[in-house]
Symmetry: C2
Amino acid sequence: MNSAESAVETIQREMTIFARRARASAGRMHPELSLVSYTLLSHLEEQSGCRATDLAAHYALDKSTVSRQVAALERTGLIERRLDPEDHRVQVLHLTEAGEEILTQVTHSRRAAFHERLADWPEEDLVRFAAYLERYNAGRGDSGPA
Amino acid sequence: MNSAESAVETIQREMTIFARRARASAGRMHPELSLVSYTLLSHLEEQSGCRATDLAAHYALDKSTVSRQVAALERTGLIERRLDPEDHRVQVLHLTEAGEEILTQVTHSRRAAFHERLADWPEEDLVRFAAYLERYNAGRGDSGPA
DNA sequence: GGTTCAAGTTGTACTATACAACTAGAACGC
DNA sequence: GCGTTCTAGTTGTATAGTACAACTTGAACC
């Protein structure tokens, strides 16, 4: 096995380890906001609001799943739905103030955790690692290995 | 924000994207072997057998979770339990032949998917990316961001 | 104006998970 | 040596996240 192949093996193994750990620890870090909820809120913030269907498409989730997630986030007051006046089937989702606050807070604490984890990395390596990850994730739609 | 900080932001964002996708697609890639089952079987192969408690500790899972996973894997004939003659509380878990076959098969197909994904990367970048991931995952036990 | 399409909800089922209570067996203290 | 305490594992119960299928409601298009 040449070194490119063995690097691919390592990438596979380490990505798998990461995915498993992320799954296991996601709920423990921020009991008030699961990884899924967090990514949904982030998306709403980035997009300044969007439809449930857009969330489902973007995250490759079933619309029923999104519907329930959205219902839960509305129940806890983190988002609100506004009927699209153009099309009454559509609910445009927006962060509430409470939602923005919690999102900010969780973002900060996640950021702090990543910073701590990466504290002793030289800047050059951080920049390169970041670029590799972007390239990896950009490398496809949503099939393939994770 | 300096470039180290913005690299950390990127790493955080991309790792989060990866973790979410992994979760969403894990079950779809290999319906016959979930990501968790796959990692448990891999561990058994690497270790040439181990105890349920070791799996729980290694993967930061509750022992009840492991107990049920193990029961399922035994039911489908992929692993077997052997009572430790030294200590009758202990069940040493081993892959069966069927387990080894399926593990090999899934490993190959995961490997192929990663290879395809990384096909157009220069070897130098693969090697560096692999090293960064190892370093990242080695960076702690099982707290912190995913 | 009926047919077809799109957005979302609800019923149902399944998997992965944790925590707590329990059983069975081992080890230690005196 | 026998009670206390520790360890390995199972089972009961609850929860989150997910999918698929059936349905409702509204829009669009002949």
